[in-house]
């Protein structure tokens, strides 16, 4: 699908530099099973891109390839300008990753977690100090800075996990169902942070089961049985499917799915 904002750059060698993710005919096969079946899409720098699909549609497999954790069987993909076959380590350095399940160490303090992740991603010692002080005060966690993360409420953990994921100022951040379980106010505070990161030029690639959140994205793709069956802005998708909400759009697309599973 072409990017209608800069059609003139499509197909030129330089255009891949402005794209955060370029994915072409990407396939991942386990035996006879095509977990990801020939998917193609681009994500612009600074875009909030929603990556949706039913359980078992192949989202996690695709995301693992884009994060440099797994090789595709065929097809091409560039992430932050690096090749998913040959430059996995460079990809890892240039992206951030957050999932609800495993992002922070419960038995380290807030500051220790920040320091640990900053160090892993190669941020210099003095810089870690400055940035973590800024971060702690932005999040209003001054009093909790020396508390164990396990003692924080879930909503604060999620905000901290997101901040840690973009601490090394990556080009792209991958968020895997980041907001589960929190109250609607906290969920929105989290999305304020996502908007802000995107406004600062960070590309956000996000999966979610909350369909209203899908509508906060600039564009959405919906995977069904390994394929990307729809991709557009939320408004256009609703028009296309003659639906009032993304919920209906998703239902229309995913109910035909043959696969079930996680």
């Amino acid at each position: 699908m072409e990017d209608n904002q800069s059609p003139s750059t499509v197909g030129r060698q330089s255009s891949t530099k402005e794209k955060a993710i370029v994915c072409k005919n990407l396939t991942k096969q386990f035996g006879d099973f095509k977990a990801v079946n020939n998917i193609s899409f681009d994500v612009d720098q600074g875009e909030i891109f929603g990556f949706l699909g039913a359980n078992g549609a192949g989202k996690t497999t695709a995301m693992r390839i884009l994060c440099g954790l797994s090789y595709p069987t065929s097809g091409e993909a560039m992430v932050a300008g690096f090749d998913v076959y040959r430059q996995q380590e460079k990809i890892k350095k240039n992206i951030g990753y957050m999932s609800q399940k495993f992002s922070l160490y419960d038995n380290l303090t807030v500051l220790e977690n920040i320091e640990f992740y900053g160090g892993i991603y190669g941020v210099q010692g003095a810089e870690i100090k400055t940035r973590s002080n800024d971060l702690v005060s932005t999040l209003g966690l001054e009093k909790e800075a020396k508390k164990l993360v396990g003692e924080l409420p879930l909503g604060w953990k999620q905000k901290l996990a997101f901040s840690v994921a973009i601490f090394h100022r990556p080009k792209i951040v991958f968020l895997d169902e980041p907001t589960g379980g929190v109250d609607p106010v906290t969920r929105r505070q989290f999305w304020d942070m996502i908007y802000e990161a995107a406004a600062n030029g960070i590309t956000v690639f996000v999966t979610t089961h909350y369909m209203d959140e899908a509508e906060y994205c600039n564009r959405i793709s919906v995977m069904v049985d390994g394929c990307v069956n729809a991709m557009d802005t939320p408004a256009n998708l609703k028009k296309q499917f003659n639906a009032h909400s993304m919920d209906e759009v998703f239902y229309e697309l995913a109910r035909s799915a043959k696969r079930t599973g996680d």
Partner: protein, 303 residues
Amino acid sequence: MSSVRVKNIIKTYGEVKAVDNVSFEVQKGELFGLIGPDGAGKTSIFRILTTLLLADSGTATVDGYDVVKDYQAIRNRVGYMPGRFSLYQDLTVKENLTFFATVFGTSIEENYALIKDIYEQIRPFNNRRAGKLSGGMKQKLALCCALIHKPAILFLDEPTTGVDVVSRKEFWDMLNQLKKQGITIVVSTPYMDEAMLCDRIALIQNGSIMSINTPDHIVQSFPKPLFAAKADNIYRLLQDLRADTEVESCYAFGEYLHLTLRVKDGNEHTISAIAAKYNPGGFEVKRIAPAIEDCFIELMGNE
């Protein structure tokens, strides 16, 4: 007659008040929802009602029996599906079901009519170990196991969390079928849109019930006109409107922002005039009916 009666229940863990003086009743045959985020106290309430946890104070009865004195009678009369999958992972589908039937002194055949519609969807996988099932199928098997002894009341703790839209819809269809067979259902969920599918709901946050009523009544009690607005740059619009002194609340909601005004009698024109100060491109505004989520946010603001 009330199926469930909860009166002034308090449960604390150390310093944390997980359940803070909660009271409610569920009528026989009702589909009752506890709606709230993680940590609101939903699971503690479920565990108290299924006699797996003792409250610090307060009383509760289930199907007329006291949760402390008559715990054995209650255990025979309720079906419980905990939030975490808790069947035997290394038993097959059939073995799990047979096991639960036997424990309750019944057989799969005896109450087959009750589970038929659900069980037939997983029957092709009868010989597969439960641990190897997909999320949606695990959920169906767990529901069958909770139903096999024909309980009077079904307690379902976040049955749809982490499940996709299609499976969630299927699950709610199953609940409505069960309701028709006269089973009282108490279900918890963090998904606000599922609230509309319940007969009555309790909105719960930090251990307390903020509101309890039919979904329609809760929506109708929203105190002010609610508006939906959008513009080409929605993040900028959000920041501008939120900072404006005439705007009371403003938050993202799907592709729109939802907002209320400080004045009581504002309309679309009032909002257009406010927005015009910031000159947003592609601005639109309309008055809308609030959703349960709007009510939840509004009630949280009052706490």
